[in-house]
């Protein structure tokens, strides 16, 4: 290709047009953020005030976080559930992925088919028996039960298995000749080689768990155990017309994910593109 000198005008025009379209995707978030800074009576002033004429940011956020409704508690619940689910799910998936790709064992084929079949089952088709099971074994309405529900992701197994298959079998064989057993090989050879993939999966799992609304809705009852999405909804129904507060809660709910996403942006986008994965 020839060397490019200066600005490609066609490209610039498309960029500007695309920027205009992208506003459509960002505007609701900008509105959310701006509204969370406003005093309530300014929320629906029209034309929309993109810069609040009266700032009420500190009071709004203080009210949401430390007012009648303890947002910090729900935050803690979400952090706890999301981190533990992520860790357990990544561990279980990585172990199974290694087992299915690097160990040649008798029933391996059949067991993998079982896992493959479960991948096609829509989560909602099994909610009722899961609910009954949970009520009977004492996992209903506690965080451990919720964490277990997100910890056995077949998707993670598939994703990581693809990467373990990329680890050369010679590495494994020569380590075996040197007397290493599978846990040792897994931990010090195979896992470090697929670390980026595990990280990608972990970020995705964290985002999905943080945003999960359906499982907490069905499997939690006690208010003090609620995660952010449930708390958010309850807050909305309680605060009724106080939209500035609701938006402050919404911003608080999205903010940590935004941070995770911006930090892990490359892995998230690559992971999604690579596995074509969906929560």
């Amino acid at each position: 290709m020839g060397t490019r000198v200066g600005i490609d005008w066609r490209k610039l025009i498309v960029t500007i047009a695309m920027f205009a379209v992208s506003i459509l995707f960002l505007l609701p978030f900008i509105w959310m953020l701006v509204t969370s800074f406003k005093v309530e009576r300014d929320v629906f002033v029209y034309p929309i005030q993109w810069i609040p004429r009266e700032w009420n940011a500190i009071q709004n956020y203080k009210e949401v976080w430390f007012g009648d409704y303890p947002f910090y508690l729900y935050y803690w619940n979400s952090v706890k559930v999301s981190i533990l689910t992520t860790i357990i799910s990544a561990m279980v998936s990585a172990l199974a992925a290694y087992g299915f790709s690097k160990i040649r064992f008798a029933a391996g084929n059949w067991l993998f088919i079982i896992v493959l079949v479960t991948y096609m089952i829509p989560g909602q088709a099994i909610l009722i028996p899961q609910f009954i099971l949970y009520r009977n074994i004492g996992l209903f309405d506690n965080h451990f039960g919720l964490i277990m529900l997100g910890s056995f992701s077949v998707l993670g197994t598939f994703m990581l298995r693809q990467f373990f298959m990329g680890v050369h079998q010679e590495f494994i064989e020569s380590a075996k000749i040197d007397g290493a057993n599978h846990p040792r090989i897994f931990w010090s050879i195979a896992l470090p080689l697929v670390k980026p993939a595990v990280a990608t999966y972990a970020i995705l799992r964290f985002i999905w768990t943080w945003n999960d609304y359906q499982n907490p809705l069905i499997f939690l009852r006690t208010d003090g155990l609620f995660t952010i999405p449930l708390a958010m909804q309850k807050f909305t129904s309680l605060s009724g017309e106080f939209y500035s507060l609701i938006m402050a809660a919404a911003v608080s709910a999205i903010f940590p994910l935004l941070i995770v996403f911006i930090i892990g942006q490359k892995s998230v986008i690559e992971g999604i593109a690579l596995g074509g994965v969906k929560g």
Binding site: K11, F105, P129, M148, F152, Q214, L217, Y243, A253
Partner: protein, 315 residues
């Protein structure tokens, strides 16, 4: 998925005649194999496999949570017959089918945006993040914002429409005729980011020399799109079509947060109706039959996908 099926055949194909030491080696491998996969396997069996069987069995029962185990009555196909005459269920299935329309719409938009972002813009990174924001955002927070934006009398969207001269803008999610369309629009808005990312990955895997060769032959942009981009993206499109269709059958969060199936049942969908029947009305047997139908739909699509893959997709 196809790749996983092929590579599956390798392990386990062990020769049966081995000397003693190889035999004990293999026994060791068997034990380690089981040990590595068993946490996942046990979890999946207890939390997925057993429940799906239970769903299929409970579909033939008439049972209420509060009755206890003794209250189960086996009623054969009665639940399924009842479903065929249940207006709310039929409405749910109809809405699910209408919802399928979102899939081609967001696929076309995403493909267009992906091509523009991949080839014709500066600051690619910004665009990827901007369009991806709705996908990573908490659905409840997003739904609440849209609820306010769509507010009929003083919401910003209708204020803008009134300014533009529309004297009687629609009431959106409060209007039975517009509620489903409003939800579909929001769903399209959310889905574009994910599809866009997959399309960009698909575009990047198309060899650049194909376009260079086409340039030498004097092909214009449209021809290149028709003859190179579109066919070589067909595996991506096919994948997105199938996952998109399956995901429309799973729509729940947005309905639960924004409309609860209303107004007057205009936005009820299969999973919402399942939830409402099981966890609000506590009719476990009947809800299980809905779950079984849902499972059937998703299975049909998945099996159809395997059959169609070879035929439609240009590799």
């Amino acid at each position: 998925m196809a790749q996983t099926m092929e590579t599956m055949k390798k392990p386990g194909a062990q020769p049966t005649r081995e000397d003693k030491s190889r035999g004990s080696l293999q026994r060791g491998e068997n034990l380690w194999g089981i040990a590595f996969v068993s946490p996942m396997l046990i979890g999946v069996i207890i939390l997925v496999l057993f429940p799906i069987l239970a769903t299929l069995v409970l579909g033939f029962a008439d049972w209420n949570f509060v009755q206890g185990w003794d209250g189960i009555q086996w009623v054969g196909f009665q639940n399924f017959r009842q479903l065929l005459e249940d207006d709310m269920f039929i409405k749910s299935v109809r809405n699910n089918i209408l919802f399928l329309l979102t899939v081609p719409v967001y696929m076309v938009i995403s493909m267009t945006l992906a091509i523009l972002i991949d080839r014709f813009v500066y600051m690619k990174g910004y665009f990827k993040v901007a369009y991806f924001m709705p996908y990573i955002s908490n659905i409840v927070a997003v739904a609440v914002v849209w609820q306010v934006l769509f507010q009929p009398s003083y919401g910003p969207i209708n204020e803008i429409l009134r300014t533009l001269g529309m004297s009687n803008p629609p009431k959106w999610i409060a209007d039975p005729n517009f509620a489903l369309i409003s939800i579909m629009l929001i769903s399209i808005w959310i889905s574009i980011g994910f599809n866009l990312i997959i399309y960009i990955a698909g575009l990047q895997s198309i060899p650049k020399d194909l376009y260079e060769a086409a340039d030498i032959d004097g092909a214009n942009g449209w021809t290149k799109f028709r003859r190179i981009t579109l066919p070589l993206l067909s595996p991506t499109s096919f994948f997105l079509l199938v996952t998109g269709i399956i995901s429309t059958f799973k729509v729940f969060d947005i309905i639960a947060v924004m409309t609860q199936g209303g107004p007057i049942g205009s936005t009820t969908m299969m999973v919402w109706y399942l939830y409402d029947t099981a966890f609000v009305n506590l009719k476990v047997g009947y809800a299980s039959s809905i779950a079984a139908v849902l499972f059937g739909f998703v299975m049909l699509i998945t099996l159809g996908q395997w059959a169609a893959q070879k035929k439609w997709v240009n590799y």
